[in-house]
């Protein structure tokens, strides 16, 4: 089994980046999703992520295999946080190493889109007005086959 995709503790972005070193790779593209202090015009204080871990890990392995087959890349690494996060915390980290930059950008962008669309992960936002809401984004309801 591979290292797990979901992380209940702070994502070690420096170690992840280091694990992408490849002598043949001329390009590394990294995407980091951070907890930001606003959503749809509302002020956000903090949030929680919950996941169906077993399914999320399985789909992540499928996405990674698909990206390796589809794009000319040397290495892929990613983590997604679960649990409680504060503003500025890293919620998701995706890194792609490749010989050339075009496939590195394409794979990284495809992976974050697929993660947001496919993985059974939910965020619960705590707003400055005291309300707390699970987000179930309508656009994410579309079941797009990979």
């Amino acid at each position: 089994m591979t290292v797990e995709f979901l992380s209940p503790v702070r994502i070690d972005t420096v170690a992840l980046r280091r694990s992408l070193e490849r002598r043949e790779a001329g390009a590394v593209v990294v995407f980091e999703g951070m907890v930001r202090n606003h959503h749809a015009g509302r002020s956000v204080l903090r949030l929680e992520y919950s996941a169906h871990s077993m399914v999320a890990e399985a789909i992540w392995r499928d996405l990674q295999a698909y990206a390796r087959a589809e794009f000319q890349v040397s290495a892929i690494r990613a983590r997604h946080r679960v649990g409680e996060l504060g503003i500025g915390d890293c919620a998701v980290w995706i890194g792609v190493a490749a010989a050339h930059r075009a496939p590195a950008f394409a794979a990284c962008q495809w992976l974050i889109d697929a993660i947001k669309r496919e993985l059974p992960i939910w965020k619960r936002e705590h707003y400055a007005d005291g309300t707390v809401e699970w987000r179930h984004d309508a656009s994410a309801a579309l079941n797009v086959a990979i």
């Binding site: 169906h52 399914v55 993985l119 179930h136 984004d137």
Partner: protein, 79 residues
């Protein structure tokens, strides 16, 4: 036939639990969803929900087996 149903996020909040055992479960995933939806009143239509059995996403017409772990996946918001 007996299955375990898993709930997440707003669905878990409405059900008041993260999982429950359903005895005399119907044969298909869709019929199971209809039954637990009637009981809990989730407010999510089947067109916006996906279903997983074990670690795999499956179609609504999937036939369930005794002991299955069935998860209903409301619209996601990861990333």
């Amino acid at each position: 036939m007996r299955v375990t149903v898993l709930y997440f996020a707003r669905m878990a909040e409405i059900a008041g639990c993260a999982n429950e055992i359903v005895e005399k479960a119907p044969a298909s995933a869709s019929a199971l969803f209809d039954r637990v939806s009637d009981r809990h009143g989730f407010g999510f239509g089947r067109e916006s929900v996906r279903v997983a059995v074990g670690d795999r996403m499956v179609g609504w017409d999937t036939v369930l087996r005794d002991g299955d772990e069935v998860a209903f996946i409301p619209p996601v918001s990861g990333g």
